[in-house]
Amino acid sequence: MVADSASPETCRPRTPTTTEGAAARAAALADVALADVALADVALADVVVLSPPGLAALANALIGDGYRLVGPTVRSEAVVLEELESADELPWGWDVDADAGRYRLRRRADRAVFAHAVGPQPWKRFLLPPASLLWRARRGESGFSVDPPEDPLPRYALFGVRSCDLAAIAVQDRVLATSAHPDSGYRGRRARSFVVAADCATPAGTCFCSSLGCGPAAAGGYDVALTEVVTGEEHLFLARAGSAAGDAVLPRLPSRPATPHDLDAARAVVGEAAQRMGRRLDPDGLPELLAAHREDPHWNEVAQRCLSCGNCTLVCPTCFCTTVVDATDVTGTVAERRRHWDSCFDLDFSYLHAGSVRASTSARYRHWISHKLGTWPEQFGTAGCVGCGRCITWCPVGIDITAEIAALRGGVPEGGGL
């Protein structure tokens, strides 16, 4: 369990700041990738080396401790997050070819298990479930009674969380766990969860975590972090603990001490990953940029392409909006209040008396991107984007948040976009 996991200072998405100009921004961008190569401060003595059977032992140890193991596995031609029975179900030997509006699984020559970047679902699927029953009430002889909650909150072991998603969980923690009005379900699931992070060695074509200081290495907010090294005959996982719970589990696994060679290899993996981001997003001055372009005709141009389908928000690991629906059974004796994910791209999301406040697609897209990158820092103290790239990959028409920002700045982004 991550103690005070709500504010791991080290992996918070970089809050955009104003800079003097394009030259400074370019210099900052060039620095980002190298400056954020983590593992620089990891000491050799704090690392153990697991083999693939050692990784399986970690999964089994967590299951044995009563956790429900949730991790990546291949289903429907994608790497999805599901409850797993063992490490056998992990995506051994798969990676992905991802671009705007396109995702394809690829077979690898090796047996790498964490080479798939991120899949379609964020971890909020488990921490903030897409649909849940809040309460159920029954009409009685006099008045009504409320059913007790059906299940105790689950204890999840989140297995293979990328640094971008650790940052996203930290963002959701600030909104849902440590805010003035926390969500008891989220807070409970979070407090009971065990996080196994996996440093990213193979960013996808839509990844840009290093632009926002959110990766590719896990820098906090985990119980155990792994760096996978696959070179020739060698396939190993460098494991480091990030909490007391992590410290307790590692000695129970078959492992060997790390050598300087191992640590160098791990640093090389993460360092190279930082250089291979498929996208870049210049983070500087975004609130000011978006505020200055409120009436930009570009929003209408985006609206020509945007389906307003809401996919970007539903795959976003930081989007947290939900709505509640009340329903009564046909006999009128049982009433339920249910909650499910909502999207600001849904026309009814901003429905007040007499209509929707954001009636046009251009208004809805502007709202979404302005919240993510413009007003989120003021509201929550972090950026609302962690650079996972899901909104780019899983947009059916491939609208690219990095390209739209570049277009507002009046240029084409480096290394991707338009």
């Binding site: 031609e77 020509q304 945007c306």
Partner: protein, 260 residues
Amino acid sequence: MALPKLAVWKFASCDGCQLSLLDCEDELLAVAGQVEIAHFLEASRERVPGPYDVSLVEGSITTRDDAHRIQKVRALSRTLVTIGACATSGGVQALRNVADVDEYRSIVYPHPEYVATLDRSTPIAQHVRVDHELRGCPINRVQLLELLAALLHGGRPPRTTASVCTECKLRDNVCVVVAHGTPCLGPVTAAGCGALCPSYHRGCYGCFGPVAAANTAAVAESLRECGMSEADVTRVFRTFNADAPAFRKEAELHDAQSQP
């Protein structure tokens, strides 16, 4: 206290939506205990005269007689609910709206002179005031039960403006467009089916009709990128909701482009 009277009416349709009520299985007895089923020929030949508290209307208007009959149904009904793509948009039989019905009639029937039909299939709302509508081909019985419950007990009828994409994500489906390159109408189709087809790795066929302000042009571009010809794009918008305005207009554009 007398139970509210429920009537079910059929116009031009396949009966599938009315059957959704009989398909309610576990809930059917509960429904039967809450209402007097006063007119439901699919279930019983007994007819209790009106007026009716709730009328469920299936089917579109395709004959002069039906155009008169729907006025009578409206006059007898306190609340009128249209159920299904035929009643809400004209149904698949609205394909005649972009063709010559006389030609169809002469091709299909040995004695076309016996067939009295209008040259257009129109939704119920073009003839009478409609209080609520349930989309779909067929409707989703869960939506039907929720609406009946709301009408019976004074709750707010459920409504959604979400697309099928939302239901896919709630169901944990992998997007068939992005991951498989399968053409799909989900982004412009109203939620309601629970993303049935994408759950079986098929693209959405638009059974629930267009969402409000559907960007059909952008979806058409996506369909073409997934390998559909202009003629296929025309056809996929011309199915169960062929005459729903957003789908009709998009089909017309591609029909024009696919002509030699």
